[in-house]
Amino acid sequence: MTETRHDVLDAARPMIECQDVQKYYGDYHALRGINLTIREGEFFSLLGPSGCGKTTLLRTIAGFEDISSGAVLIDGNRMEEVPANKRPTNMVFQSYAIFPHLTVAQNVAFGLRRDPRGKDEKARLVDEALAMVGLKGYGARAAHALSGGQRQRVALARALILKPKVLLLDEPLSALDRKMREQMQVELIKLQRQVGITFVLVTHDQEEALVMSDRIAVMFEGEIAQLDGPEALYARPVNRRVADFIGVMNFLPARILSENGEGAKVEIAGLGEVDLPARQISRANADDEVVIVGFRPETMTLIGPGQPHTQPRETGATIDEVVYYGDMTYYDLRLDGSARLDGGARTVRISMRNLFGRDVQDVGTRTRLAWSPGSLVLFR
């Protein structure tokens, strides 16, 4: 039997360990007890809105920030006394920090200045590193004349030439335009597989994190809210806030009718009574929050009149708004009876692929929604 990537990563040794890491800036509590283990060879992302502490955490791993208490270990060694220039980590900065007065080759070779190897050997390493990031033959160019994407590649080559144990990436794609960003995402994944170095990425872009990461830590206000693989994070967010931050999720008010160890019977506005097993129930919400049920736009299907479907449940609805994207159409639907629980009528957003032969429906059309209780998550 061949091993999957997950098997390999699960068995890999810890590369970065954060143990109850606390960081204060004066009175401001930037990191509130971060516990985290990142494994060797993993592509790990720190995801969160600005000000959540993700960059601070990355900079404490790099050694640019001291921690107030707790411990950071890299490859089993405590890092308190090790300054950034002696750590086995290298960083790709948000601004790329390409040295503008040097050539591309001088930039890439910068970290080798203290390396005892000969000039020819270093030149070979630089060529190798440039080839790896797709900039073969760019060595003699002036760094300031490069485009954004090229600067990004030079920054990668410059960091990877030192063969660090961990590569830290601080929002590396945020300065690129959309097309370039998507291309670089794929290239970064390939590069990470090729070199096998642990990558830690900081991003505020949930899509970027989902695309690239083996695991993602979602952070809010200096704490890790959820640490999971992309699929688990998307399908089973631990609380409403995470659900809201990752992708689009519809929320409907609900009422718990009965509950035991195996699950709960709930009444959901517009969807009616549903039995939900325990694994679809998330309890990590603030006490004063109301009970609510969430589902993703693509988990439900619009059904034309008389059209058969294989879903266990269906609900009547009226189309409120249509947003056409070419490959997809988003429908905002008003569910029949959605006002029953608390009097407020609600729209939910459903996405449909525009498959060949499937017509885009018009605003005001009466329609049916086919769905399965398996796609619901209860937040209580």
């Binding site: 002696k86 290298n90 920090a97 040295f99 007065h101 200045r113 004349a145 410059r158």
Partner: protein, 273 residues
Amino acid sequence: MKAGMFRGSGLRLYALFYLLFLYAPILLLPLFAFNSGTIIAFPLQGFTTDWFGQMWENATLRRALGNSLTIAVSASVLATCFGIFAARASTRFSFPGKGGIMGFIMLPMVLPEIIVAMSLLVVLLGVGIELSILTVIFGHTLICMPYAIAILSTAFSSLDKSLEEAAYDLGETKWSAFRLITLPLVMPGIVSALLISFTISLDEFIIAFFLAGSEPTLPTYIFSQLRFPKQIPMIMALGTVLVALSICLLAIGEYFRRRGNARIGGKETGGFL
């Protein structure tokens, strides 16, 4: 160019007179420096370079020139060095009382120089330090520093903070990161600061007059000679040399600024000089 905007409005004439008023008197300097007549008046007599020879043979003038150069070089180097520290600290870090501290450092720029000179004289005499070119260097450093800091702050603040961090991350020490990355990138600013400080110090009169004791500097020497009409043609020759020197310095400064700018692909922003 929107030349049409100015046509017929008299603004061209205004600009012409403005430039004439600014530079015509300076053009008179070389005119009379090479004029063989001893009286500064038209019509011109004949061509001569005697005044330059006379200037060169004047021992007091040579001493004044030496003093002025020593003072200007020392003061500009000191002001620029201190300016680098202050500019880096003020653009890179935030610390309590930063606004106040920077304000006090920049204050000599707007303080009447006569106040600075007088109070320095009182303090120096009170402490019992003998007046010499050393005390002038001290005073000139003080008044040059705000200009140096203003120029250097611009150079430092346009620098990406993560450049130094990147160099440090790549294994350099904090000092070598500064030397290899920051220093070359702010070099045009440093050259500008040196030149401005040098020029300010070279023609500064009040502080030199108060603090030099019996030592002459160029401005105080020139002032003392104006009483003797016989000396005026020689002063004209000296002025000519100084103008030529200033133009040379400006050209050198601008050359370095443009070269530095081109090397890092910076946008042409006009520069200080």
